[in-house]
Symmetry: C2
Subunit: 435 residues, 2 copies
């Protein structure tokens, strides 16, 4: 048994929105934290780039330092909330080599180079915790790493980007177009001045990569994640989603499956706008909330809902990790180790099997539906439902929902349909959640 | 650092529905479990009452024993899934004194005598885990004990009894009366032959007591939990819930609050049928699902949804705990300790503040509403909305929703209303969730 230290030295790297709230919790909850950890958490410094920037008064100016390395070197627990790849990576690796426990909220870094960090932590025998990196305050990392450690995860679905969820919601409820909805999100601080990381799905893809690697104990590189953002989503997509009993969500999907073409067992990870049935628990996740839905062999369906971003929610997740890491230094032991023992390969995106909804502009004359149906049949794609919208100047609008099929077969079908003379335009092709 | 054992001896006490599924996971997931724990989990025996009862073939008959004490004495990790108070308590205490780690799903025992078990585990320096005791597969115990350890919980709301949720759902969607809905639940195996523990709210109260003690770091005895079951719920209650934009749920509520009468800060814990606004995430929790909604200072609102009962879901939660407990024996350390350091008292149930909905049968004549409104005003209860239903043979039906008030003031109001000559009957008084 380790001897019980009277206090642990805690360093915070970064004093932005999240860092400020982390400091606030360290200060205001000091007594509670000491009770839970079994030792006092002593904040020894806050690493910043600019000593003179305006800050919340909860951050004691005498704790600020621009010498992050020296700060790391005098800490038992390092909290990295600066974001970005460097110098975050270098500082985390330095803390790990020093034997300090590390808590990070840095999803970009974990998605880019998680295995390097996991391996360093394992080699040094120290904790690396990162609950806040995926879905903010929602304790899904701990659930997957610990609570479900005796179960077998089949699939993880997530609304893991609050900005796009807010934007799609505004398009649905107020009929705004994408650009206007993004502007509203920016005005409310839900979207950044450059919204690319959110609307193009990069942020969601990073979280999907992290979740998939945890859930399936395999390495999932960020560039193996299929990614379609919401920039192609139109008001008509949103309206048709509702008309057909769905809600359009940017969904991150990670599943264990078999590529039918090659027989390879592996992991499929993708982010794409998806039609979620209105009765699905994820359909009710509105505004900037995040939610993660997990399907397992024994537990069945689980869902976790909460704030996926923001200073205070992210700080809550960080502090939960800090208590775990600090407690290990008091009573001994270590948290779960990230392993890739299952070693599943990441399958190509077109190995996915799903239902799809196609919307087509076609010539408004008899026989067109028969041709379109024949194109489906040729590629082995079975149609579940067809709906035809009132025609306009000789153009009819066909909405086709398929049964579960491979994305490969679907793509081939869409190509064939696009070549039909009677088809003016394949307006949209969207995945539909549910079997 | 502890030396790494090649294997750990695991004992399972009980081979009912849950015990069988626990054994199944131990057997079928043996390799995965070994990877996660860092040592093989060796099932050394299954304690049963009857060696010759018919069992699932996954349970190796040669492992069965009726000598539970001897089984406990040769285990490193003891899984108690037999239920009931004795001999479960005696066996768990024996395991703890032996220095074994313990995982239990026994909510009745924890609600009745948790502090004795927590203290014994603390004194012996061993783990006592019990995720499966509250809301089955939903990892809410770990969330409250660990993920939110750096945050401050204000309130916990839960649908923690799947049987009553199923029954209330059937009443709402199919217009069944309570008795018929309970019969359907029994036919599907959702309710037991004697449904008392579920419909009278005892099961939910036990879970509420456990959750409240964890969330508020205080001792919450079972008999301090206010409890109203669903036996008084009528079809009309369910219909009126819907008409006023609500769904009727049996809700467990635990909150940190101040008793206005005495100024005492404390914890309020109760289980009662509650009108949940249709837009609230808990309103969408249907069938036999459970959900727990947590409000904290930093994280804000979190919700956890999943299967609250059943062999496989409960076993999933048990095995997650087993991995944690077993891992501590491999790499050292210990899980969180249940503490009551906050020492908050449990407040009397009538200190609760909430909105309420009253339904009254009144004489259908002018001036009655004025009298009823005056009775509210006299006791300082402010009315938010009044609705009057078509009268029938001289009797009108008044539906009154109050603003937030104390339960004390509400009770006094209801008494005063009951004394009015024009009031034929106070038909129902229900709590309304939300401010």
């Amino acid at each position: 048994m380790t001897s019980h230290p009277a206090s642990l030295r805690v360093a915070v790297l970064g004093a932005g929105t999240v860092g400020t709230e982390v400091v606030r919790l360290l200060v205001t909850q000091a007594d509670d934290l000491a009770s839970r950890v079994g030792a006092k958490l002593e904040l020894v410094g806050v690493g910043v780039r600019d000593l003179h920037a305006e800050r919340d008064p909860v951050v004691d100016p005498s704790l600020l330092t621009t010498d992050a390395r020296a700060l790391v070197d005098r800490a038992d627990v390092v909290i990295e909330v600066m974001g970005g790849i460097e110098p975050a990576r270098e500082l985390i690796l330095r803390a790990i080599r020093n034997g300090a426990g590390v808590v990070t909220a840095n999803k970009a870094l974990l998605a880019e180079d998680g295995p390097t960090l996991y391996a360093a932590a394992e080699a040094a025998g120290v904790d690396l915790y990162f609950e806040a990196a995926v879905a903010g305050a929602i304790p899904v990392v701990r659930a997957v790493r610990e609570s479900l450690a005796g179960d077998h995860v089949h699939r993880v679905l997530g609304i893991v980007n609050g900005t796009t969820n807010y934007v799609l919601g505004k398009m649905a409820t107020e009929g705004l177009d994408l650009e206007r909805a993004v502007e509203e999100a920016q005005a409310l601080g839900y979207a950044e001045a450059d919204p690319t990381a959110d609307v193009e799905g990069y942020d969601a893809a990073a979280k999907a990569a992290i979740l998939a690697s945890l859930a399936f104990h395999s390495r999932v590189p960020l560039d193996a994640v299929g990614r379609t953002g919401i920039t192609g989503v139109t008001g008509a997509d949103v309206v048709w989603a509702e008309r057909t009993g769905h809600v359009l969500k940017l969904l991150a999907v990670a599943e264990r499956t078999v590529d039918e073409l090659t027989g390879t067992q592996g992991v499929l990870v993708g982010v794409q706008p998806t039609l979620v049935p209105a009765s699905h628990p994820l359909a009710a996740v509105t505004g900037s909330f995040n939610a993660v839905f997990v399907e397992t062999a024994a537990a069945g369906q689980l869902m976790f809902l909460g704030r996926g971003a923001g200073g205070a929610p992210t700080a809550s997740a960080v502090l939960g990790d800090v208590v775990s890491v600090a407690r290990h230094r008091v009573v001994g032991g270590r948290g779960p180790v990230e392993s890739s023992y299952a070693g599943l390969p990441v399958l190509p995106a077109d190995a996915a099997r799903a239902r799809f909804q196609l919307r087509l502009d076609v010539a408004d004359r008899p026989g067109v539906l028969a041709q379109v149906a024949a194109a489906h049949a040729e590629h082995g794609v079975s149609i579940e439902a067809v709906r035809q919208a009132p025609s306009d100047e000789g153009v009819a609008h066909l909405v086709i929902t398929t049964h579960t099929t491979s994305e490969r077969a679907l793509r081939a079908t869409v190509e064939a349909i696009g070549r039909l003379a009677a088809v003016r335009k394949v307006v949209s092709v969207l995945r539909v959640e549910g079997a």
